[in-house]
């Protein structure tokens, strides 16, 4: 609202009436029609849209002129911040005065012009700020994409596939798949950092990196001597099971303790599922840290849900996680996903739900790639482009039927 020149106030005084507006009282609401404009004489006036305060105006400011002069609805609500006195000018009176008073007309036009100029400057400033922020987020999105694997491991007799679709520019979900050469195994991780936006995205990079770096620390320590993974050819599995367990436990627990102790004040946590698979035998050991239960299925039926074996990662120092084991037979698939999939909503607000996901899985047999295509198609048919609220992540691994 533009500060009215003194001349305008003086002239307005001849055609208006003084009204008082006690503290807390609303003069008009956004959307109302009204044919009066006001000049503040005393007290402070709050311009707001519901609970959102847009401005606080002091004596000398003009309010309500857009709706009254333009025959438009009020663009914001007006409430007295203190006991205030206003000068009310009815626009019918105003227009008849304008016809006879050239000086008054000039004052009004000049006030509106200078107001339009200041609005235009604000709009330009704001669009520049928005553009800078958008550019920053785009850079963030680009950098964050490098915290997901560029390619998935290629393993004879197995097929791996991943789907990742963020709800916003940056994501709190992550997945990972990597060879752990020191123990001749494949590591699979899916995680979901609580909360959304940039905060969750920063923690996503931390969780992903700590888990991967700890799981691969033996490989890194023996860079030159790490055995080459030769999954299909190796008849005997030489790696004792306790090294697999150690790798799972170390990765989850040191990540948990590091984040809980270093960043405990933020109360940020992630649900994480971390599995290590022996590609030769199909044996699978895992820790499910508060994550959606992954599912093993094959021969057109759901075989097993992999229940949680400990709490979420990152907020309970010294938390204990158990290791569970199972096996993928030939023809079996393992599907690891985040709740963004099961909680995806249709236009009517209904959730995709676990039961729909399970139905899709149970009616399916084939490779991980085509499985993911099936799920995404089923999900898209259900949501039909309704707004996506949460990140969607799926990691699937399939053991071929023939070997």
């Amino acid at each position: 609202m533009e500060n009215a020149p003194e001349q305008l106030i003086r002239q307005a005084a001849t055609i208006g009436i003084e009204i008082s507006l006690p503290s807390g009282q609303t003069l008009f609401h956004k959307g109302d029609f009204g044919d009066s404009m006001y000049v503040i004489l005393n007290g402070r006036i709050r311009v707001h849209d519901g609970d959102l305060s847009l401005n606080i105006l002091s004596p000398g400011h003009v309010i309500g002129e857009i709706a009254s002069l333009g025959s438009l609805k009020r663009t914001a609500s007006i409430t007295a911040e203190d006991d205030a006195t206003l000068f009310e000018i009815n626009c019918k009176t105003l227009f008849s005065t304008l016809a006879n008073e050239e000086g008054f007309t000039k004052s009004i036009v000049s006030m509106l012009c200078s107001r339009e100029k200041s609005m235009a400057t604000k709009v330009t400033d704001r669009s520049m700020r928005v553009r800078t922020l958008e550019r920053e987020l785009e850079i963030g999105r680009e950098i964050q994409s490098h915290f997901l694997p560029d390619t998935l491991p290629v393993i004879p007799d197995w097929n791996l596939s991943a789907y990742f679709h963020a709800a916003h520019e940056v994501a709190g979900d992550f997945y990972d798949a990597f060879e752990i050469k020191s123990i001749n195994r494949i590591g699979l991780v899916v995680g979901d950092v609580c909360d959304k936006g940039v905060g969750a995205a920063l923690f996503m990079t931390l969780f992903r990196s700590l888990i991967r770096a700890t799981a691969l620390s033996m490989d890194f320590n023996n860079w030159s001597t790490a055995p080459d993974a030769s999954y299909g050819r190796r008849r005997e599995n030489q790696v004792p099971r306790n090294r697999v367990d150690e790798c799972l436990l170390d990765s989850i627990q040191s990540t948990n303790n590091y984040i809980a102790q270093t960043h405990g004040g933020t109360s940020m946590f992630a649900s994480v599922f971390f599995a290590i698979i022996d590609p030769y035998t199909g044996n699978l050991s895992y820790i499910n840290a508060g994550h959606e239960e992954p599912v093993i299925f094959g021969k057109q039926q759901i075989k097993q849900r992999l229940e949680t074996t400990g709490p979420v990662v990152g907020i309970f120092p010294g938390a204990r996680h158990e290791i569970a084991s199972t096996k993928l037979d030939h023809g079996d698939s393992l599907l690891i996903f985040t709740d963004g999939i099961t909680e995806a909503v249709s236009e009517s607000g209904e959730q995709y739900s676990e039961s729909r996901l399970m139905d899709t899985l149970a009616s399916y047999c084939g490779t991980a790639d085509s499985l993911l295509d099936n799920i995404i198609q089923s999900l898209n048919n259900f949501t039909k482009g309704a707004r996506q609220f949460d990140d969607n992540t799926i990691l699937a691994i399939h053991r071929n039927l023939t070997h």
Partner: protein
Amino acid sequence: MSDTLHIAISNEAASVTVLQLTGPLDANTQKDLEEKANEVIDGGAKHIVLEMSKVSYMGSAGLRAIHAITKKLGDDSDNAIKSDDLKIASPSDEVRKIFKTLGFDTYIDILDDLDSAIASF
């Protein structure tokens, strides 16, 4: 469905402050709960019960708020042990399932009714 969280404060026993929550506990209301809890803790509350029978939905942001309250109450030792100062009373089956799935039930007592929660300190 309302999207605001209503928080009623009462002192049911000498040293126990009860926050009765009505509505969703999610990313939009997480700060409301944290701020209200901070107020009562700054006002001297040592033991808090969150009465959750009327919580219609709880998301992970709600769990962040609950964790932040346990920290504020001083349960921040380096070893994960059960919170002595914060208890949950009468959550719905769905809310209880979320506590269990995310493993919060190991660190925070969840009681079936308000009286046993108050008596549990």
